[in-house]
Symmetry: C2
Subunit: 221 residues, 2 copies
């Protein structure tokens, strides 16, 4: 087997590892948001106690990328783009996984079961952020730059929804209709959702880079 064939096999294995990690993270965030939307304390507890699988996966993929760079010496720009975008994307995936835990921790603290009915935009925000993350990951794994651009465009909607949520919470606080702690916790959950959307955008920017060598029309390689 030539070195080149060997390298291609290792790139495919790297891609599979990344998909596996993405599945894990997607699953965690799905569960975390379900625990939030359905106020399912059991589910939230499961996520908070969650194992270090995502972190371990991150380190293992990083080590794999670095080893490929050192020992296989990518000589084609396309190969290096794939390895370096993988090295970047694992950070975003790991952060999304962290936010799944952050949200679950807050779900466990929220005392008033009705607070969400008064913060109507957060459910829409959660569903948009989740879709951005799913599509961002799909755009990367299927090398679909069109989808990547759609995800990047959707970020403004999530930002707008975050502002709506902030206003709803300010109103609730002014009217003293909900416990203050719950309002603050919901606001934090909204902030995590906004961050998840940001990480989806990052993943899409590296998808663009992987295919074109450019990010936001700036040539990197």
């Amino acid at each position: 087997m030539t070195t080149r064939v060997n390298f291609q096999l290792e790139l495919e294995a790297l891609d599979e590892a990344l998909e596996e990690m993405a599945d894990m993270v997607e699953n965690n965030i799905e569960k975390s948001l379900a625990s939030f939307e359905k106020r399912n304390v059991e589910l939230a507890r499961e996520i908070v106690q969650g194992d270090r699988a995502v972190d371990d996966m991150q380190r293992s993929i990083e080590a794999r990328c670095l080893s490929l760079m050192l020992h296989q010496q990518p000589v084609v720009a396309r190969d290096l783009r794939m390895v370096s975008s993988a090295l970047k994307i694992v950070t975003d995936l790991e952060r999304i996984g962290d936010h799944a835990q952050d949200i679950a921790e807050l779900v466990l603290r929220i005392s008033d079961a009705n607070v969400m009915e008064n913060v109507g935009h957060i459910v829409e925000m959660a569903s948009k952020a989740k879709l951005m993350m799913k599509n961002g990951i799909r755009a990367y794994t299927t090398r679909n730059t069109e989808l990547a651009y759609q995800v990047i465009d959707a970020d403004d909607e999530v930002d707008d929804l975050f502002n709506e949520v902030k206003e709803e919470i300010s109103k609730l606080l002014q009217e003293k209709r909900e416990p203050v702690d719950d309002c603050v916790d919901i606001l934090m959950i909204a902030k995590y959702l906004e961050r998840i959307a940001d990480h989806a955008v990052n993943i899409c920017e590296w998808t663009e880079f992987n295919e074109t060598g450019t990010v936001q029309n700036i040539r990197l390689l």
Copy 2:
């Protein structure tokens, strides 16, 4: 001049570019926090209107790292560690720069000049987060892993201060002593400070990697 010498020169130039970007970001965050602590609207406006210099610097360093990987083919693990840690750290620096802008935007919105006196812990939080960032950058540029570990350890203090701030704000909201919007904005500023501290920790983890090839005792290269 041998290729090896040439490569060393390029690594040094990369290091200088990274220091330049770090200086820019450090300066922005200093100004942003000064605008917050002294409620200096002029300064805040300057940061919000700030140019794209940090973003451009990020892309230029990334391009430089990728070009080094492709054309110079680092064959020594140490060289690859330097290039790959630079590739990782620029993301954290750029995010810290973003948060400087985020904070300045909120400073412009806060209407009540006295709100900070009632959220005593935020000044301490800001000063600790700023120190973590400065020391994190210094640890990286001076290859000081001892300092890096100190920064990583300090993160718990910032997290504790964030909880104190949340409690202070919940109390203010309950007592209706400050405008709700201001309280929500201060909470967001605290969240950005907590994120800045997290990015400082990331920078320190890549400092550890750069020197030792390990992150959190896990060997990556």
